[in-house]
């Protein structure tokens, strides 16, 4: 049989240990106060909402006609702006053009004291249509949370005569003004209109001098100032007793723009961060125990090939971590959920199968009377196709799992992308586990076994599963 050089074992083993160490801990550089990650470790893994807590919602436009692709795209872009302006950077946003759906999923920020997912969803899906209207008539009054009256629904001329819309506004900024006489500072939103808006506003302020122009955000009147002068420079401000936060939030809303249609939330699901915190710890404990038991089992039953199997398993696990955390620059980082961790643990159990098959085969050949080298060679050859076929079936299943439970792909052409993301992670880690199994459980194992068998101390049939004290 082809001799594999002795150092090969050490090279392969060291490479695997290096991969394991870096995939787990990453390599970080410290530059004063900043630490940059050169290589991502387990700490950089993005956890799903079932671990971090979070929100998942599906929005559908409330139109009777089918929305165009551009409309859905513009709605998606606006939602993205809103997410980032709320400092939510870790979101997933999918569009389904066939069924007119937008799916958004984001984890709850670490350390956020109040968990109010409903407000978050409502802010994201608010139509945010800013209008300037003639007059200030409203239909209903309710009392807001601060005790101030809230005027809703324009009526009469106010309803029909719209002077300006969000599209006429070039930019909005939160500004602080200080009252000259009292020295009190208040916040307002300063607007700058574009050319057509400036013209329209100039005409309106001229026509309605002495009357009221009201400003509405969706169905709520936020301000109703009286027109004192003709405004021709296209600059005006919205005053409404805003706090700093309210002013900046309103400015952000105006800047993000109005959605092309009203969105309703057809599905939503929220998980509190407290629920997920212990789950992660639990799964990690389970993983460590399972790995330890399997290692003991392999060592005890298969001796030297068992030892090689442990190193191979480490490599497979490290590859799983690396594929999820974004260790490899060409593989995107992946959201890891509880079923995803279960997938890693399951692929440890299934992955060790390759080593069991090979080692059992070697043992069989030894008992059939072959020499050590012959047994290893025959064992490797005969077991390969069984491992291959078995792994391929799990790959088929993993791909189907990813197809059913993931975003846009073939199956979703029929039925739309899924809102259940957590099983997607399971399919992915299972797939990576099997790929890792081919790499480490088959190739690396064979290299290491053959190389090890070259060492004097390892030239014993017993170490490979044969009977004790047999002639080589």
């Amino acid at each position: 049989m082809k001799r594999v050089a002795k150092p090969v074992f050490f090279i392969v083993a060291l490479l695997i240990l290096f991969l394991t160490f870096t995939a787990t801990f990453g390599i970080k550089g410290q530059n004063g106060d900043n630490s940059t990650s050169y290589i991502k470790g387990v700490g950089d893994i993005r956890w799903g909402i079932d671990i971090n807590g979070g929100v998942e919602a599906t929005f559908s436009p409330e139109t009777t006609t089918k929305a165009t692709k551009e409309q859905i795209d513009s709605a998606k872009a606006i939602i993205e702006v809103r997410l980032t302006s709320q400092h939510i950077t870790d979101y997933e946003l999918y569009t389904d053009y066939d069924h007119d759906r937008i799916i958004v999923r984001f984890p709850w920020k670490n350390g956020e004291k109040t968990f109010d997912p409903e407000s978050a969803i409502q802010e994201l899906s608010a139509t945010a249509m800013l209008t300037f209207r003639e007059g200030g008539d409203y239909t209903t009054t309710t009392t807001g949370s601060d005790g101030q009256p809230v005027y809703k629904t324009p009526k009469g001329t106010t309803a029909t005569n719209i002077i300006l819309q969000g599209s006429d506004i070039k930019s909005a900024k939160s500004e602080m003004v200080q009252d000259q006489q009292t020295g009190k500072s208040s916040y307002e939103v300063g607007l700058e209109l574009n050319d057509s808006g400036t013209q329209k506003f100039a005409d309106a302020t001229q026509k309605l001098q002495g009357q009221i122009i009201s400003i509405w955000m969706d169905d709520v009147r936020i301000s109703a100032p009286q027109v004192d002068a003709v405004i021709t420079d296209g600059k005006c401000s919205i005053q409404g007793n805003f706090s700093a936060a309210e002013a900046s939030s309103l400015a952000n809303k105006i800047n993000a723009g109005a959605l092309p249609f009203k969105l309703t939330t057809t599905n939503f699901s929220t998980i509190s961060p407290l629920l997920g915190a212990k789950s992660l710890q639990a799964m990690l404990i389970a993983g460590c125990i399972a790995f330890a038991l399997i290692c003991l089992f392999m060592l005890f039953v298969f001796r030297l090939p068992g030892f090689v199997a442990i190193i191979a398993l480490l490599g497979q696990i490290a590859l799983s971590f690396a594929a999820v955390s974004g260790y490899f620059p060409f593989v995107n980082s992946f959201t890891m959920t509880l079923p995803g961790i279960a997938g890693i643990i399951l692929s440890i159990g299934m992955g060790v199968d390759a080593n069991i098959i090979t080692a059992s085969r070697i043992k069989e050949e030894l008992w059939a009377g072959k020499t050590l080298d012959g047994a290893i060679q025959k064992g490797d050859d005969n077991s390969f196709w069984a491992i291959f076929d078995g792994n391929i079936t799990v790959i088929i299943v993993a791909l189907i799992l990813m197809g059913v439970f993931g975003p846009t792909n073939i199956l979703s052409m029929l039925f739309g992308p899924s809102t259940t993301g957590s099983i997607y992670s399971f399919g992915y880690t299972l797939l990576i586990g099997i790929v890792g199994n081919f790499l480490f459980g088959v190739t690396a194992t064979r290299l290491m076994t053959k190389s090890l068998s070259g060492f004097k101390f390892a030239r014993s049939k017993w170490l490979f599963g044969g009977a004790k004290n047999e002639n080589l």
């Binding site: 915190a277 639990a282 799964m283 159990g349 799990v394």
Partner: protein, 319 residues
């Protein structure tokens, strides 16, 4: 090294009997308990709040029904382990009847009304889920289609890879063993009264892959032994020998996989993580039946079918 000499084919009636027996028990449970689908598939809404102190279940029901204009069932779970180890909180779970989703406004209104009625309870949302029934149904169909596609792909794969030992027969018998496993997983959900959710689909698909893996090992050995023992060897001897030779490996792998998932289950049970236990318990059952079906069901069925084919062939030849 231990060599087994179990007469798998000869004992087949016992094995079939055990399987049919368990399935009959499962069917009885199914008739008693009915098949429950999770809201992910049917649509509907569930909200889970945590609170401290005491509340009255009937009052909560009335508040919820008045605010949301929907029928609801309220369940109170006391002293649920809290994640950060602090004061054990109680959980109240509100399930809305019917399959409609719940609007955000309704949910906020309910939260407000509950806080108004019990200001010191500190209601906090632990979990909430509202699924539109149309989306739920299409998701369910998508899952079923996926399982069907998996079956078809796997049959084709086996038929191709094991042509030399009667590909189609091997494939069909493997599928019967797989259906057996799916039924076992299904009955686990029924018996333990877990509503069928996405975990069910995930477990079914995984066990399909895993059980087929097991069956392939045996078929692979049959293929090899067919070459070694020659075409004259009767199928029963061929299959018995093959299964006995691979028995150790089947046990070891099933043992390792079972142990890995069992640990996940035990840890999940200890920490009270429902999402983990509803996933791992059926998986444990699936691993066991996967091994059992490959060893005791697929093999003997294959022999029976091949024997029948041979008998038909000699019958037509002797005509």
């Amino acid at each position: 090294m231990k060599t087994f000499k179990i007469h798998f084919f000869e004992n087949r009636k016992i094995f079939f009997g055990i399987s049919i027996g368990i399935m009959a028990i499962g069917l009885i449970f199914n008739i008693i308990f009915g098949t429950k689908l999770d809201i992910q598939f049917t649509g509907g809404a569930v909200i889970n709040y945590s609170y401290t102190g005491t509340i009255q279940q009937e009052e909560v029901e009335t508040i919820v029904q008045d605010t949301s204009k929907k029928e609801a069932t309220v369940r109170i779970l006391e002293n649920v382990k809290s994640a950060d180890g602090s004061v054990a909180k109680n959980n109240v779970s509100i399930s809305f009847a019917g399959t409609d989703s719940l609007s955000l406004d309704s949910q906020q209104a309910i939260a407000k009304a509950l806080a108004a009625k019990y200001p010191s309870a500190g209601f906090q949302v632990v979990e909430s889920s509202s699924v539109n029934p149309t989306m739920g149904h299409s998701f369910f169909i998508k899952c079923l289609v996926a399982v069907a596609i998996a079956f078809i792909l796997l049959v084709i794969y086996i038929a191709i890879r094991f042509q030399k030992i009667g590909g189609m027969t091997a494939g069909v018998m493997a599928i019967i063993a797989l259906l057996h496993d799916v039924a076992m997983v299904y009955f686990t959900f029924i018996i333990f009264q877990i509503p069928l959710n996405d975990s069910f689909i995930a477990v079914v698909l995984t066990i399909l892959g895993y059980s087929l893996n097991d069956t392939i090992i045996i078929y692979d050995r049959i293929r090899e032994n067919r070459r070694l023992l020659g075409p004259k060897t009767p199928y029963s001897v061929l299959v018995n020998t093959s299964i006995n030779q691979t028995f150790t490996r089947s046990l070891y792998t099933a043992g390792c996989t079972f142990m890995a998932i069992a640990i996940v289950f035990i840890v999940g049970q200890f920490f009270g993580l429902a999402s983990v236990t509803t996933f791992s318990l059926p998986m444990m059952v699936g691993v066991v039946t996967g091994c059992y079906s490959s060893v005791c069901i697929a093999g003997p069925l294959y022999v029976m079918w091949e024997n029948r084919k041979a008998k038909q062939k000699t019958a037509t030849e002797s005509k």
